[in-house]
Assembly symmetry: D2
């Protein structure tokens, strides 16, 4: 219930530092009787795994997840699920020289001041490595959601200046970028190669979509579905912006343009991104997140050390030049966890009646 | 702890429908010994009050807030604070004809399907009228924060197509738009007048800034300060997007451009928006929100009724043609509540040491 | 989510001081479509109301509850329910002389040291008057539970030295003591009359029973049903002990004696009090609470004032010589709230399957 | 935030089944800079460890705890602490025959009906084995509390019919019973030997005391310190009753007898058990718990199987004939966790002022 737990009925609590012994999570509130295997979780983890292409960190982590409890004879028992990933490729020596320095735009500075004592190796708890456990927990959520006909998928919709139109879900799984247009992959690769030569990093935008969500999920006024989605997505490392549906485009839209008209056959558009008044409308939930460029670059930058003296910082080590590239599975995981938590909360308050009942219209 | 509570140590729970008897809130966890008066809360409520200009709803609500508990002899006692605003200008007849219709882009549809039974008068619980209690609770949070040298202020940074540069905080309080540039107010008024003639509505963007925030607020990994801010801000009616610092601009930024370099005198820029790794950096916290155009317009729109039959909807009644105009105090309130909750949580875990201690650099 | 909220899915948040303007509560997470009226809540409040017999405080409070939101056309809408009781009979002058003194065994001392600033009138927030809102919220919970065939009832099982065997529920509602044996009422009255002459107060024991609870409520390992019941019941003013089923008798019981054997027709005994492993077994839930004698007596006692100087304290004012007499409706309320919260949580995680399904055995 | 988390600012979330791969916990919100080692945790775990005397289960578990995160260079970092104990001595074959039977007074019946699918081996999640993680987490809490001068200790105050007066803390650590009187140990051993011959089990009472607690911990009205203690203690397997201070004795006490009078030198008695109005008074916190006899005995008992058919159950395997014998460290752990959570919550709302300041009186 402190800072490392997300969700109320279906909740995920995590621990683990980049260069610690292991990462772990406790998934609580999972319905019983769901088929879950380490293999199934591993499929999701492998989508996020470092070292899988030359465009991501060269750290080689097997990221093998173990299920320690809560699953018996292949099915969940309804009790808390313990998950563990042991760290195997920690090269702490890479980081020792920056032990007393604050890398610009990194959490070094704030962790140091908040806690006084920090694990500086590889960013410690602030490392994106923590997100592995979100993906593992999200895989469980996805499995439960699938039983309710809900599917959560994401893709890279922009890499730096390169905007990418959605072409197919099939394409997304066939390249290292989660790029939904197979014809743009070469362009992305060329961009990343140039970026590496420039010793720089770049931001990205990820779009996440949930299909099959019934009408009714979300608890106004503070635990609106969009508010909790924003919470979950913004809690991902490097995320600086969230949009639901039309997002910032709504600033310049007129009401006559933004409103999604309804007919007996369903909504005529989806500017709302599937959420009205904080409650799912039965249309697809559409969210976008902006990820900043990683701050770990080899181009020298000005900073200070823990004593306040100026230093020049060059971040070596094995880093992602675009954290957005591996962010798609993480964003999917946070959306899946949020949706499942809300599905259970809705069912708790309302019973099963409205969830899954035929919708007046559809999307 | 259900959907109508926000915050963990400093928490706000609200109730109330647009046309019900009253709106209310319970503010829990407020530190004792803080001077609070109904007059002070009223000042903030009056900033949000409907009917204060011709550009907002013509509903005339006094919005007089009463403190029912938790304050004794002018000071908080540390016990829960009860707040109440009685509704005085409910004209339910305005709404009776749309009782069985779903207004497009409104929460009618989702409330109907989620709950089965709803107060259709004026949007009931889904009405923006609910935000009055947030402003009242936020006024208490602002007062406590002021004692820690923290100030939360907001302004309109865009109205439809009109982008507004920040000129002065003084200007913000001198016009009905919370416009920070006195030279642009006439333009905004002209735009709104034309909009009314067009029988349409428009979106807006609000910027909220917190100054004086110490290093250290925020609880990774899920209760990051930015994640909770996103939760709080996205829970405001009509918000469809959130940015922290560079926000969506970070998508096209390079790492060398985005990173805020540090010198012994402080940070050289604030692309981060005052939050690194989910923890406040001591720089100003900067957030922006996108508000959609209100869906209550008099231009006819296609919809269906509760039986699924097609209807044409014209929303009469007294509505804001731009909900963004009155959103500034609400956004400030949510940021203030979030910051105070995190200040108390930080103090709980860490003691007073790091909060408020001299920062290495500054903003 | 601070100290004044109880429950996770069905939650109750309260405010209000003994001599403040009003008491209030927000009931959140109540299922929609439940018939609720002020009259129905009033029936429960009247059972707890002061001044209803000569054996309780002579304070005359109408305790008229108003529903301010969440109920529309007689039925709950699923949104948060605001409840209010205005204080009408506050005679603050009664208390002014003890403003700087700590009454022995009272919360004066601890509130003073915790908060620094306190409403000393009538105990302020620490007064048992606060429990009126629990009874109102509990009345809502009881109504929802009734729809699931669950009934929560309590009675006085001991008044000081007088142990009372259960005879009938009918008797409970026919005397001021909630005494389940009509033949013992005269004895209780005589005891209380003597006590008043002695200028003293006395403890009591209340038994609360829930019938019709399905198998399956309770969330191990920390949110066990018995653990949450203990939390709720111990949070009632003056409660110093809790027992479930055999309670402290289990200390001297052997396993062969304590265990409730099972047959195809059901359990053969109920030493467990209806809870096994923290989960309801389908048998009646049985809890007992010990209430201490009120500390407000007119027999002089030694104490100190806020400056640490010794004083002699005589508590005048209008007090209950046995707080246990009015505690039955409060204990019922806390059990009802706990059960409903757990029913909703169970339904959220597990769906409706196991709740309410035919039980193998019976109670 | 589901059922397996305890505490709000300092929180403990656990997982693990009796015969699963491992037990684990995530301790969140621990203040940074606290010296913690696996060795120190092991000391507490060894106090609870099975197989350490002939009077407890003969299961031989090393119960070696590993710290997986949150501690760096010997000190806590303020981030979540991962703890793990691998199960090494699971003999599942012992339990296979009772797979389809419900042992009387066991959680088999309720887990089966709640979840449908359960790990029947050794009680699965309902096994007392789960409490090992509470002890590990409690050891961390104790360490932090020690830094505030707070010490939590417990002892066995009754074993079946044998009441034990407190003689010394030294004695408690010198026998397998946590018996505070060295002269009574032989009697306890003889009693247990006879019990084994009788193939039966017995209940017990444990007393837990916290010394050095400052005035001010506890958050009325629902999160009172006593209410949360009751929650934590009742969540321990086999606990059926809780008392604070005078407990059930208060039922027959008069106000003049129960009230703890105050003098400039401090309180003259401690009937309150160190808690007034739900807030610690600065006196020792005194709680007692009643533990039922274990239900796993070899004396045959009547029960049914999952199909509803009658069966005779004899529970073989390796069980504690008195679960109370090993309960002292667990009760201490739950009290320590509760106190630390409240110390942090108090510090969050009130700052450090009142905690630890000289008390007017003292105990």
């Amino acid at each position: 219930m402190s800072g490392n737990t997300f969700g109320k009925l279906f909740s995920v609590t995590t621990f683990g530092e980049s260069h610690g012994v292991a990462l772990g999570a406790i998934v609580d509130g999972c319905p019983p009787g769901i088929e879950i295997s380490e293999q199934a979780l591993q499929v999701e983890l492998d989508r996020r795994r470092p070292g899988s292409s030359r465009h991501t960190t060269q750290r080689k982590e097997a990221d093998e997840v173990k299920i320690l409890s809560g699953v018996f004879e292949g099915k969940t028992t309804g009790t808390s699920i313990g998950l563990l990933i042991e760290n195997t490729d920690q090269r702490s020596k890479d980081y020792s020289k920056i032990k007393d320095q604050f890398r610009p735009a990194h959490a070094d500075y704030t962790y140091h001041h908040k806690y006084g004592h920090r694990d500086y190796r590889g960013g410690g708890r602030s490392s994106a490595r923590e997100t592995a456990m979100r993906v593992a927990a999200g895989a469980i959520a996805k499995k439960v959601l699938a039983g309710h006909g809900i599917q959560v998928r994401g893709y890279m919709s922009q890499l730096g200046p390169i905007e990418i139109d959605f072409k197919s879900w099939k394409s997304v799984e066939q390249n290292a970028f989660f790029c939904p247009d197979p014809d743009r992959v070469a362009e992305l690769e060329a961009y990343m190669d140039q970026l590496r030569r420039d010793q720089d990093s770049i931001g990205a935008e990820i779009t996440v979509i949930a299909d099959g969500v019934p009408v009714g999920l979300g608890e106004p006024v503070f635990d609106r579905l969009d508010a909790e989605l924003a919470h979950g997505l913004m809690s991902i490392n490097a995320v600086k912006g969230i949009e639901i549906g039309a997002g910032f485009k709504s600033v310049t839209q007129r009401g006559s343009e933004h409103r999604d008209e309804l007919t007996p056959e369903g909504f005529l558009s989806n500017q709302a991104g599937g959420i009205l008044g904080g409650i799912s409308s039965g249309q697809p939930i559409v969210a976008r997140i902006a990820l900043k460029p990683t701050s770990s670059i080899t181009t020298p930058g000005r900073s200070i050390d823990v004593h306040g003296a100026p230093v020049e910082v060059i971040t070596k080590g094995r880093h992602d030049p675009c954290v957005g590239i591996r962010a798609t599975p993480i964003a999917e995981a946070m959306m899946a966890i949020t949706l499942l938590d809300h599905l259970l909360r809705h069912r708790g308050q309302n019973g099963d009646v409205s969830v899954g009942t035929p919708k007046l219209g559809q999307r």
